[in-house]
Structure formats: structure tokens, C-alpha cells
Symmetry: C2
Subunit: 351 residues, 2 copies
């Protein structure tokens, strides 16, 4: 009984981008945690390690030697999940046993020559160089491949096997599940409401303010109304932009700035190099470059696993895998905490 308060009363929220729901049970934050603790990331990563295959001058698994690169550096993934020339699986003999061809390329992009840096500790021009390199790869691989997935797994907790600041780029001959899903929901929204979903969403959030984390003239970051991970965020342009490579010069600078501000807040939250998986979604490419993709809006998703401290994560397990994602604090509470954190990185604060 009593009147509804989101921070006290469990409820479900609709995710219009994935057409599914999340269960919000904020009162669960009170429960004690006696389960597994995560190891905090190592503090003593050497700046240069000749045995680290991502370092300038190091030898990679295939025997190639990296150049002494000074900015970003892109090279083919030595253990790619997608290769350009896999043969076609035969025709399916039954509707419950269907296979399809999957071709593509996997690249790795180092953000910086130093292993002991991360994006939030890089300068604005250095982050801007990463953005330019992303846009270039999107254009290059997107010329033929329908989907180019840029993503960063940061931290050992997110399956990242190398502390050197880097991301991956997997281009595929098919639209992956998440791309199909967002294509369908955004298309439907535009046709029903006459405005791209995420453009309208950004306008609404800019006005409502309670889920804003950081904003500037071109961009805003919110903990989306339907966030599943505790401190999940969505990075959105204010203008209608279909693809990374469409960003203007000024928008790339302001993107570097807002990324830096967001990632500093993330690190400051638990005073630890904040683990996450992040990635860009935009209009499909290749053959889709000829089609109308006006329903698409460029955006980046940040999915960080931590819940309460540097060592206590959210487990998306039993109920989440078998039934529905469940979160333990409201998106508004998460946004407020992030918003109120200092803009200066804890490692760079005057002692």
C-alpha cells in the first residue's frame, strides 16, 4: 500500500530500444554481501614491456614486430573470431538446425603507446585521435561490411586480457542480434512518432535532468531510464547523427571532452580504474549506405559491472539469464551519484 516511490517500490521499466523490460528493486541495496569479491586491477603496470604484444616495438603472436607507434595503432587480431573467407555452411536440412555464413575481420586498436594509461588519464588531443581513428575504421570497413562493431573491454573483470589501453573492431557480413533489434525498434518508433527515438529521448532527458550525468553543447550522457547494469550509461548526440564518421570537427572535440568527463567520474566512483564494456551503435553500413537509415541515431553504450565498491559487482545470473534483468538501485540514484562526483581524476588531485 501507500503511494509509489521508485526508490522504494519494485517495478518494471520498459526498454524501447531492446523491446524488453528490467525489474527495478531498489530496496535490495540493503542486503548484505557475503559472496565473491573481485580483485582490484594491478596498480603497477609498466609503461613499456617488450613481452606485451600491444606495446610499440614488441613481437606479436604471429611473429610480426609492432612499429614504434606514437599515437593510435591498428593491427589485425591474431586470434580473430571472424575471418574474411570462411566457406558457406551447407543448406539446412531442418528448420530447427539452421546455420548461416559469417564472414568478417577483427582488428585491435591501441589508444596510446603507454601501457599504464587509460582513456580518462589521456589528454583531450589524445582522445580526439582515438575518435578520428574510430571514424576512419568505420568508414573503411563500413565501405563493404554491413556492421562494424567498435567495442572496448576494460579491466580483467570484463575479460580483458591485456592492461594496455585498446579496443577491438569486429566487422561482419551480417547484422548481429543487437543491431537487428535496434534497427527494428528505431524504425518502428520513427514510423509511429515521426521523430528518431533516441533524438526524442535525448531531448526529453535534457529537460527532465534527473538521469543526466554530464552534458555539453553537442552531447549528453544519461543513466537510461531502462538501465540494467548499476551504473550503465548511454552517450547521445543532441543532433541527428547516423554514424560516427558523420561527426563534424567540433563534435569530435566535444565528444573527446564528454568522454573524458564521464570516464573520470567512473574512476572516481570507487577510486579504481573502472571496468566496463562499451561500444558504438550507429546506422548499418555496406549495402545499407544506399538505404534510408533516418530512424537510426548514433550512440554509445557503457556497461560497467560494479555495484557497491571496487570489489563488489552485480551478477547477472540465474533470474537475469532465465527470466529478466534485475537491478538494485534506481537509474536516478545512479545518475545522481555519478553527477555529484568531482571532475578531477582521483589520481591527479593535489594531495
Amino acid at each position: 500500500g501507500g503511494s509509489f516511490r521508485a526508490s522504494e517500490h519494485q517495478h518494471a521499466r520498459y526498454n524501447p530500444l531492446r523491446d524488453d523490460w528490467v525489474l527495478v528493486s531498489a530496496h535490495r541495496m540493503k542486503r548484505p554481501w557475503q559472496g565473491q569479491l573481485e580483485k582490484p586491477p594491478p596498480e603497477d603496470v609498466p609503461r613499456w614491456d617488450p613481452n606485451n604484444p600491444l606495446c610499440p616495438g614488441a613481437t606479436r603472436a604471429n611473429g610480426e614486430v609492432n612499429p614504434k607507434y606514437e599515437g593510435t595503432f591498428v593491427f589485425p587480431n591474431d586470434f580473430p573470431a571472424l575471418q574474411p573467407d570462411a566457406p558457406e555452411p551447407g543448406d539446412s536440412d531442418h528448420p530447427l538446425f539452421r546455420a548461416a555464413a559469417a564472414r568478417g575481420v577483427c582488428k585491435v586498436m591501441c589508444f596510446h603507446p603507454w601501457s599504464d594509461l587509460t582513456l580518462p588519464l589521456m589528454s583531450l588531443p589524445e582522445i580526439r585521435a582515438v575518435i578520428d581513428a574510430w571514424a576512419e575504421l568505420m568508414a573503411e570497413l563500413g565501405a563493404s561490411y554491413p556492421w562494424v562493431q567498435i567495442f572496448e573491454n576494460k579491466g580483467a573483470m570484463m575479460g580483458c586480457s591485456n592492461p594496455h589501453p585498446h579496443c577491438q573492431v569486429w566487422a561482419s557480413s551480417f547484422l548481429p542480434n543487437e543491431a537487428c533489434l535496434e534497427d527494428r525498434t528505431q524504425r518502428q518508433h520513427l514510423s509511429q512518432h515521426g521523430v528518431p527515438m533516441l533524438l526524442e529521448y535525448a531531448e526529453q532527458e535534457a529537460r527532465r535532468k534527473e538521469r543526466l550525468v554530464v552534458e555539453n553543447a553537442d552531447w549528453l550522457v544519461v543513466v537510461p531510464y531502462w538501465a540494467t547494469w548499476p551504473y550503465q550509461t548511454l552517450l547521445l548526440p543532441r543532433r541527428h547523427v547516423c554514424r560516427l564518421q558523420d561527426l563534424r570537427d567540433g563534435e569530435r572535440d566535444s565528444l573527446a571532452s564528454i568522454m573524458q568527463r564521464l570516464l573520470i567520474k567512473y574512476d572516481n566512483l570507487f577510486e579504481v580504474s573502472f571496468p566496463y564494456s562499451m561500444g558504438w551503435h550507429g546506422a548499418p553500413t555496406g549495402p545499407y549506405l544506399e538505404e534510408d537509415c533516418g530512424h537510426w541515431q548514433l550512440h554509445a553504450h557503457y556497461y560497467p559491472p560494479l555495484l557497491r565498491s571496487a570489489t563488489i559487482r552485480k551478477f547477472m545470473v540465474g533470474y537475469e539469464m532465465l527470466a529478466q534483468a534485475q537491478r538494485d538501485l534506481t537509474p536516478e540514484q545512479a545518475a545522481e551519484r555519478l553527477r555529484n562526483l568531482p571532475d578531477v581524476h582521483y589520481k591527479q588531485r593535489a594531495k
Copy 2:
């Protein structure tokens, strides 16, 4: 080029139950792993610990004292994500900001009075008692709630905060995402093909054999053609059964037996208490008891995270979260490995 071999050439496989795809890149098993290692589970769990709130005679968070139970024991979750009386969220003021009421109950079920046991080490009558308790809870909570999710998070890696053998049961006033999805795909299959999807699938797999792990007169376990987790399995009845509570006496005994055989193989794979999340899916309940649910087939999903050893897991992260699940060995390879493992638990083998 060359002719297609699933164990060598990446391809995508269709999951008809979730209407999505998985990328299979078996050649990736060759890549070395230098990332995070998992802690193996503790070997020295005390059989009885008065400070463990799941033990007989122990005091729980709310001050209640557990009975000295000797079989299974069901009690309310002290930190429930779902409560029966949450007030209704107000009407949504915008289609991108939609909330819905979520009500329910969360229960915990201990499988056995001893903390140092797990299902594969329990006797057949003890496992049968768990199955009967599941069926009872399904019938009891399903009398009013549309969905009753039984699930077990096993192992610290799966967010399980207590080594005592137990599962959870969350009953909800709504159909969760996965239930909606499976309802839609199974309904469509029946209307298109005239036979329940998973009944047909079980018949096919019984004949094809290459993905079979264990089988008996009433049940079979396969690594499904579309498995995403390395050693994921699907437990299926051979007869058309809608719900757990519909199982006959003999089918409950044969279920205890096949669960024991599967779980012993799981433990034997890496000679470790095998972590997983598992859960039951069957026709919805409550108001749906009056409706035709003939498209549904009862089944259990097992989602284990381990990939190569007791300490190396599969990370479902960047590409998987942002694009599509990707697996590193074929379902046929996984099934063959499991099938060939001994039926005697490594802890019970004569030295």
C-alpha cells in the same frame, strides 16, 4: 575456401527458442589466455555452521530460527526482489518512459541439511525430494502467479553467496522477458509446423545423437545446436509435458537419475564443483492455467561459465553484449567431451 567444417570455419547458428543467433568460431580455442583466472571453490566447507543462515537451527537475518530440517527446506528470501504488495507506478507521461507494476514473492529452497553437499553428490531419493518440492512450489505459487521461476546459482562465480546447496524461486505478477520470448517462438512453431517445437527438437536430437550428453527412457540432455555458453545444456522430456507439476511418479525418478548423471559429468569435466546457473521453463500459470498452452514444452536450461579449466571462464562481454553471443568450441565438440566423461563422480572414485 575449401569445404565447410563446423569445427574449423566460423558460422552463425539460429536459436529458434530465442529467435536470435550465435556466432560459432571454433578455431578461437587455440588462442592463449593471459587474462583473469577464477578462484576454484573452497574445498573445506563445514557440514554445519551455526553462522550460516541456510543451516538447520541457524538464525536468519530477520531473527527467525530455522527448524532442524532433515530434507528440503523452503523459506521466504530475506531480501526479496519481489514483494506481494508494491504499489502501482503512476501512469506514464511519455512512451519512452514506461513503468509497470511488478509484484511477487521470492523463496529460497535448501536441497539438503548439509552445507558440504551439492546435487551431484546427493542420493537419488534426495534428488527426487528436491524435484517433488519444486513441483509442489510450482503448483502452490502457480495457482495465482503467471510465472514461477525456479533457478539455482551454483558457485561463487555465478553470484552465489552461500555454498549451502539451495535454489531460489521467484514468482511474479508478470511474464518476464525470457518467458514472453519463448511463448512467442513456441506458439509460432506449433502453428506453422503442427508440433510443439521442443518435442520435435528432442526427437531430432535423439536421432542425430551428435549433441546428446545423457539420455534415458523419459529424458534427454543435449548441448543445443544454438548453445552460447561453452558447456550449456538443455534438459528435455521425450513426452509432451507442459509443467513440472505434470510429471508422473516414474518421470520424477528418471529426472532425478538424469540430473545426477549430467551433474556428475559436469563436475568431472574439470574435476571441480562445476558452477552454473540453471532454471526451469514451462507453460505459464495463474490465469494461463485456463488457456491452451499446448505450444509449451517443459525444459531446463543449464548455463555454466567455464571454458577451458576450473579457472578459465568464457567472458560474455564486449562483442557479446553489444552485438551477438560468440562461442569458442562447437556444441558437438562440447557434447562429445561431456558424453565421454565417466559416470562416477571424481570424489567417489576408488583411489
